[in-house]
Amino acid sequence: MTSTNRRTFLMGAAGLAVSTAFAAEEKTVRVAVVGTGGRGSDLLRALTTIDSAKLVAICDDYPPHLEKASKYAGPEAKTFDNYTTMLKETSPDAVVIATPLHLHREMVMEALGRGTAVFCEKTLCRTTAEAKEVVDEVTKRNAIFQIGLQRRSNAIYRQAVAMVQTGMLGRISAIKCQWHRNNNWRRPVPVPKADPAWPALERKLNWRLYKDYSGGLMTELGSHQLDVANWILGTTPKRAFASAGIDYWKDGRDVFDNIFCVYEYAVAPAAKKGEEPVAPYTVRVTYSSVQNNAYEGASELILGTKGSLLLTQKKGLFYKEGGPVDPGWAKLGQEGGDNAAVITSGATLKIDNDPWAFRGKPYEIDVESDDTRDELLEFVKAVAAGNPKTVADVRTGLQDCATVLMANESATSGRWVDYPA
């Protein structure tokens, strides 16, 4: 081979490599969705806006939901009332699972068994034991798995984690979070109460309200926010205490309608280069969920020695500690330099009388995208690339699952509950 030929050959090979990479990026991922209620419909609608995804099938055993979802999905997505049949007949590259919590384990395992990539809505499973089974299976198969914790794909939360890691908040003092609403959390039933079909239909549609199918407020709402705490603190809680009850919506539900939790985390920051390691310290996280007052809504407040960060899905606000303005009075660290302080004659610095004003003006963090679409975009990309490292992997799912279930266990037993071994 002459040198010219050799160079040509290499260029050709490089060109080929580039085009293969391009093809991999553009590969269309065939996706199926099971569970077409509220959340499932959000997910499938988002999937139809992603160029590299093709929605091939949707499945639900409740015909009214399936019918409505079929309109969103378009005529090319086949409809099924049986999950196994759907997987067999359409062999999708990936399945999105948005069914009631008690069905997650079985459906995830079946898809994994067929070599299908899985996106499963939070919470991972109804018990920690089930969640561990799923982790083992994903690990054994090196499968592509993503848990539906969309804040992991949200630019605000990513920025928040980066701000904590770079020390902008100082040492984390505590985290306060809550998801408060003011409604009965019920889905309406399409037949009158007197209809013999009512009781079964009511439980089917309102699965969130019954322990047989759900972990209630903790698994359906708290899982998002406790995952934020786990993510920001870089660890799982040591132990938890919770008090909860059915105190307002005495309507036949058997999950709590309000819950207040305290979690204790042992945080051990990584030692910086050339510095002594910092001794582990305790950080407490509080979480509450109520359903008869919506004043505080859903948010997480990260408190640190140097600042506070208020997080929601649409906006993040960072408040520095130590007052609203710096009048430039104290000249610290300027030995032998200029004057050590400045006094302004005749003009008292005015700041707002409003007690809230002492927080000062926050630095705002905005986001320009929908995190539900973004999490699916990242999942589809991982499937197309055959990359099992997803943005919210199965271990994250297990940790989140174990964390929220500790609170339910504590509220039931009235005792502190340790993080499961």
Binding site: A46, P64, Y72, P188, P192, E368, D370
Partner: protein, 250 residues
């Protein structure tokens, strides 16, 4: 019979649903489901929420065709039909740049939207309220709520059922009530500028919204000459009274 009033802020205004039925718990649950539908539509159609699907179209469609959901595509295709039917007086494109007719390309096969004139943006604020009311009404009907009156920001309303709902119309340009209409199984929309206003009653709230906007934009003289065969009633509101161009609202 019992009545339940449920309300929620959405689309930069307040929506209220007055529902009539047998059982309070059922009415409340259905009301919440219908209010959730508003939020779903807002997540799709808001131009102010950067996370909405429409906001993504507004950001990206001048650079490349944007693949949108079937529902948003259908909404935009419907708006194009309304744009043509009103001789261009209904136009959800804002800004000095483009008009719907010549600045937007809708590809039905690829399900994409592209702006052919840079600077074009959609504002579906008004249409979105009507569309949201129509969809909320579908949910109320799906769960057998027979009688209801629902409104968004008091400028768009929809009534359904056996009873007649009396709706008084106020004008932003005068004190007191300028007229009363009788709403039964129909949508109503009212628009106004500094000097005049319009009121339209039609089969759906979205259709009423389209025409109340278009008629206000075209002005009284042109509006008198238009054919309104698909509308129930059309009124022009000046300082103190409604001049009915079609029907009488009762």
């Amino acid at each position: 019979m019992t009545e339940v009033l449920c309300r929620r802020p959405a689309m930069a205004t307040l929506f209220e649903f007055l529902l009539v039925g047998e059982e309070e718990e059922h009415l409340a649950a259905v009301g919440e489901a219908a209010l959730d539908e508003l939020e779903r539509i807002e997540r799709m159609l808001s131009m102010f929420d950067p996370a909405s699907e429409l906001a993504r179209v507004n950001r990206e469609a001048a650079d490349h065709p944007v693949k949108v959901s079937r529902e948003l595509f259908d909404v935009l295709a419907e708006c194009r039909r309304h744009h043509e039917r009103t001789d261009g007086w209904f136009d959800p494109c804002v800004g000095s740049a483009g008009r719907f007719g010549d600045s937007v390309r809708l590809d039905d096969i690829a399900q994409t939207v592209a702006f052919t004139t840079p600077g074009t943006r959609f504002d579906l604020g008004g249409y979105g309220k009507g569309y949201a009311l129509d969809n909320a009404a579908r949910i109320l009907a799906e769960f057998h709520i027979a009688d209801f009156l629902i409104h968004g920001g008091t400028s768009s309303a929809l009534a359904c059922g056996t009873r007649d709902w009396n709706v008084d119309l106020r004008s932003q340009n005068s004190d007191g009530v300028v007229g009363r209409v009788n709403l039964k199984n129909a949508g109503l929309s009212s628009s106004a500028n500094d000097s005049s206003g319009t009121v339209v009653i039609a089969e759906t709230a979205a259709l009423a919204e389209v025409w109340s906007t278009a008629i206000l934009a075209m002005g009284f003289q042109r509006a008198r000459a238009f054919d309104y065969h698909e509308l129930h009633a059309v009124g022009w509101i000046d300082t103190a009274a409604i001049h009915w161009l079609k029907g009488s609202g009762t």
